[in-house]
Symmetry: C2
Subunit: 295 residues, 2 copies
């Protein structure tokens, strides 16, 4: 049994945000922290639906909780939120603290397969398997049959790709300024080159496509019309201009799949990549997920 | 003419948050920064009413803008917001960076009179006189006939005391966990001892009472019923428990003045001193001021 340690607790909105830590098997035994918001309406007889928020490069489990502006709407809707960290901490991999786009703060929500990284860098398993198992075991009043996911930037990539790989787990996904096509864009190709052992010689390697939302959407076998995806991107986002995000590729994938109504991409005039952008549309994203979580 | 320099700009809510800097006469020529939120409805023919937010110890002009959760409501109401810094930066006063309760990040919204501090530590003049003058000169679409003020902790002290000393300027004041009686509580007495030259031998010195909201409210000559004050304090606020805040003293002062309906003090069950507390009640505070700013 994993020991879930309570690090701190704050009353907020209609409930409580608690920071927990535990020694993670997925992360090679390293301690990971996460924040869990539980509305006061949640109880063992009436557990709350769950909305994950995955943060972006250089962020941690506090960023979305403190700056995102999600909790008042989540509280009003009676939705719990889970804010994981963005990478292992203190893995001791050579060079992990040298580049903000790789290593600490940059786990990319995948399971590493390259020798150097594979012991610790398994954020995919942490979020899909271990956090749910640990929180279930702890008996938190969470309804694991009603789960959705959202994220920002690298975490937007995480939200979209985890959803598309696990449509049986998640009801809906949304993202702010996500990296939609990381197998072809700079952050993603850099991360995948390091984290993933590519056994194939295709370009991009098939191992990369497993974490590429554009590919995952085009190739999805989910029944047509069953997916629920919302994406917001600011027109003044410098990373959009640098072609890190590529929401057009995701739209094209939806079109190829033959069901563009499953994906709404909204270009938000004048907004940038910051939490000022996120906090502006945060209530709308929570309401979007509420539709599916409370259906 | 003071040069108002634009440091950055972010679209947020229904408008834009701009960070400005200028060389401040009040602060002995040091450069100060502030954030200004202007809703898109503001124009020279229809300038926006103004709500100041004064942050607490260790904070700066970004803290309230990023973590406060004010801007969506302000934007909806068409209200501008001004977020000043909490002290001069880089004054070079001996010891100003040694104690989080004094010096940098701890200007206490007063004009220093002690020799060591008086050249730079004049946050009162900065906010009451210089920021309005500089922003007027720059032609921002702000309506200086409609101004209210709020703040947190040390900034709650600032909001209440600046309001009570300037009821001709401000329409209303509100505060989260304010230091209500700083002439008798540890943060305040420490700051006042250093910043203010006490010529009188009374205890507390009369110079201190000029910045003590409890004293200012009890002694106010404003017409009965004309004041508008809202205060929220969390029951689990450790600084409340340590008697740094003393909202009961402020309530007593309102009672002595004979018009308790001018002040609402709400004890918020289970909340602490953090921005999780502030962001929960931020929309209510903005709506409170909107009543008076848009009357």
């Amino acid at each position: 049994m994993v020991e879930l340690k309570k690090e701190s607790s704050n009353r907020v909105s209609t409930g409580t945000l608690t920071k927990y830590s535990f020694a993670s098997g997925s992360l090679g035994g390293l301690t990971t922290q996460l924040n869990v918001f539980l509305p006061s309406t949640a109880s063992s007889s009436s557990p709350a639906p769950i909305l994950f928020y995955l943060a972006g490069l250089t962020c941690n489990e506090d960023t979305g909780a403190q700056k995102g502006g999600f909790l008042n709407t989540a509280g009003k809707e009676g939705i719990a939120m889970i804010f994981p960290d963005t990478s292992p901490r203190g893995a001791g991999v050579e060079g992990e603290d040298d580049d903000w786009q790789l290593g600490t703060g940059a786990g990319f929500y995948l399971n590493a397969t390259a020798d150097k990284w594979k012991k610790h860098y398994n954020m995919y398993d942490l979020i899909i398997k271990e956090i749910p198992a640990v929180l279930k075991e702890a008996g938190l009043a969470l309804d694991w049959s009603k789960v959705s996911i959202m994220g920002h930037s690298m975490g937007g990539h995480g939200a979209l790709s985890l959803y598309l790989k696990n449509t049986g787990i998640f009801k809906s996904a949304s993202a702010f300024a996500p990296a939609c096509n990381p197998s072809r864009t700079p952050w993603g190709t850099n991360a995948f080159t390091h984290y993933l052992e590519a056994r194939t010689r295709s370009s991009p390697p098939s191992e990369w496509l497993e974490y590429d939302s554009t590919h995952l959407l085009a190739a999805s076998t989910a029944p047509k019309g069953s997916l629920h995806l919302l994406v917001d991107v600011g027109t003044e986002d410098k990373f959009y201009k640098e072609k890190q995000l590529e929401p057009e590729s995701l739209k094209q994938a939806a079109k190829e799949r033959g069901s563009d109504e499953e994906l709404e991409v909204r270009m938000q005039d004048g907004f940038d990549h910051s939490y000022y952008f996120i906090s502006t549309f945060a209530p709308e994203h929570v309401e979007y997920h509420a539709k599916y979580l409370k259906a």
